[in-house]
Symmetry: C2
Subunit: 424 residues, 2 copies
């Protein structure tokens, strides 16, 4: 049912010849959802006064209810919609009252944008950034133990549900519990999570959790959900601060305060929010539900890794004892570069101590994959290795990973040259 036939029917926005194995970066939207999206934009323009005054709040509230009931499993009064995960994390970090010397704990795998926000707070307010080094592969217990060392006495901990690159699952449930134990505010960057892993925020009850809806849930860009624990409905403010500002010392915080604050904070394109229901309907009716999607993608992700390892026997799947770091629908390969040199008889070596040379090679090959092969698999050069991430989605088939691994080999040969007689 899924695969290329499905793609040619429902993911027709993709240009002919584009073979995406990179759903994780920006997501792709099914055409029936996109068509509705354009219709919603047209509706906003048909009578803007009516849309803004009559329709926007009910549309927003309906979307909150849907994702809260079906995916986040929490009271929709605790959810706000923002543009993307970066905005969500910034919304929290720029709202809370920090004092000079407050410690903010993060993993070394933290998303760059969020790290920069912390750097800014360090500069402006004097908070103290504390980085927990996570040299993957790691067991979950090690991740937890490394955080446990730094949490006591800290103000806030920022950690991922699934990190970006490599794409690994983090034991965020255990870390949330540890935060509660130590009285540390938990802020979870779940950019990759809704539509990918099961969430139960009502039970977990972190302080803050943000997840992009435009990645794995197929909602048009950019749309994200921000969970805010009820105890912070007063302290949290929108970004930008707007008409809807509430000073909790002046006005009471009630059930609807978060909705009042966040539903309209400026003139933007609201159509992604309206499209949430259509993305969910597409998943249920056209795809056959969450389990069908998850099963296909997870199955394909293991097969894609197997295929790559059959081609590059020296490559390894990034995993741990119980495979707990592998998120459904994404896999990471670790490929020693010296073995690639030998395998493809590359003429030029790469100096892993020369950051400039590494960046240059990375960018050239990245662009070559994108332009010449129309199939971009995110990769990085790291510690003498290539780390490569595959995203697996319902429009992918196993042959896609055959194609992209071959393409990567071609790019290496083009960039580094080939010495037919050289054997390392």
């Amino acid at each position: 049912m899924f695969g290329h036939e499905f793609r040619d029917k429902y993911f027709t926005l993709l240009e002919d010849g584009v073979l995406s194995v990179n759903h994780g970066s920006y997501g792709h939207t099914p055409t029936p959802v996109f068509d509705k999206y354009v219709q919603y934009i047209r509706n906003e323009y048909a009578y803007p006064d009516r849309y803004m005054l009559r329709e926007q709040l009910p549309e927003y509230t309906e979307a909150l209810q849907l994702i809260s009931d079906k995916y986040l499993h929490c009271d929709y009064h605790n959810v706000a919609l923002v543009e993307n995960a970066t905005t969500g994390v910034n919304t929290v970090l720029r709202s809370l009252k920090f004092n000079k010397g407050d410690r903010i704990v993060m993993a070394s795998t933290v998303y760059g944008s969020c790290y920069n926000t912390v750097r800014f707070l360090a500069k402006r307010i004097g908070i103290v950034p504390v980085v927990v080094d996570l040299p993957y592969p790691l067991e979950d217990e090690e991740v937890v133990a490394r955080f446990a060392k730094e949490l006591p006495g800290s103000k806030l901990a920022l950690f991922d549900a699934i990190t970006l690159m490599p794409g690994v699952r983090v034991p965020f449930e255990k870390l949330t519990k540890l935060c509660k134990k130590h009285g540390v505010i938990s802020l979870i960057d779940g950019a990759h999570s809704i539509g990918l892993i099961e969430l139960d925020l009502g039970t977990l009850a972190p302080d803050f959790y943000v997840t992009n809806l435009h990645k794995w849930l197929y909602v048009p860009r950019g749309c994200a959900a921000l969970y805010v624990n009820p105890q912070y409905h007063g302290e949290i403010q929108t970004m930008p601060i707007s008409h809807s500002y509430i000073d909790e010392d002046v006005e009471p915080i009630v059930d609807d305060s978060l909705i009042s604050k966040f539903h309209f904070i400026g003139t933007v394109n609201f159509a992604s929010i309206a499209s949430i229901k259509d993305a969910i309907e597409f998943r249920e009716k056209t795809c056959g539900g969450e389990d069908a999607i998850a099963q296909y993608c997870q199955d394909l992700s293991f097969k894609s890794a197997k295929l790559a390892i059959a081609k590059w026997p020296f490559a390894q799947l990034l995993t741990n004892r119980h495979n707990s770091v592998i998120p459904p629908s994404m896999v990471n390969l670790i490929i020693p570069f010296k073995d690639l040199v030998s395998h493809y008889q590359l003429a030029t070596l790469l100096d892993f101590n020369n950051k400039e040379a590494l960046d240059k090679a990375h960018d050239a090959i990245d662009i070559m994959l994108m332009d010449d092969y129309k199939s971009r698999a995110p990769f990085l050069f790291h510690n003498g290795e290539v780390w490569m991430r595959f995203s697996c989605q319902i429009y992918n088939e196993l042959s896609d990973y055959d194609y992209v691994t071959n393409a990567f080999g071609h790019c290496l040969k083009k960039y580094f040259g080939v010495t037919p007689t050289l054997k390392l």
Copy 2:
């Protein structure tokens, strides 16, 4: 050339029967520009990797150049694109380094969202908000004199180019010069300005200026330009803070720093930015240029006020000695409520000391205009008067203002009832 025939040809997104005299609130986009907008969204979805890596930055830079050359008249390196004026003002206020006790001077007519951002800073940092009362109608000299009293010793002054309601032009050029004289940072909320009044930011050289492109320039929502004086390219940060963060103590600030910082700060809908060139082309080629637009709209705005005053002889145009408060394309009427009572023989009086009753009446009549007459003219009850704003655009004709003034009369009679025999 302009008027209803033009509307029926180029503003076909408007629903049949909607008669807009409220361009100022959200703007309307011509259909040819909107069609391009949808095409740009499709292009983003055709191959997101390529769009984000190859196309987004050139598209952004081209848009900067166009509006800087043609409208802002300043070096495009000093301009950033943000979502709307609220975001622009927040970007500035949340980037600058304030200390406890710093005074921020604002007019009493400040946009509510911006005032709230200042309130937040007062709470978090302890800045001191200073409000300059502007009881319109006022001569420009009075506005300047009132600011002059408060500027010395202040850190920043926030003032409008054209205020929202009433829609009056502010002598922002003179205020900017006064700020320079007193060493006060000037932050100009020009939400209503590009496409409406001529700007020369290169010569004026304020510290910060923001203007919505989606209002009077016909660009799809939400898109705004933020001018940043070169001396602040280091201190200004994006909102949210993102990948592109630059710590000026670590990295040098160069010509392109503002572009590097602002062009991509998260996954959003970028298509408004791509549409800027089409909005400008529409204005030049289809409308015959800025002068043609300005002349039609300004002429219509005076005629619309005249028409209303012919109907309500007790009404007054909000103006001053040289008509310097009247922005092209918007007019404000001041209508004593007791005269409306007499004119329409209203049965119920309105207690202007009862805020709850005022709000209730306002909202009911506002909704009635919008729902029953499909023509919403923003108004407010103020000091025993009705203040009403007309926006005049190239799709409007004089009969639109006849329609909306009649509609307003009908709404008053419906809401307050009629006493045929009562004469006040």
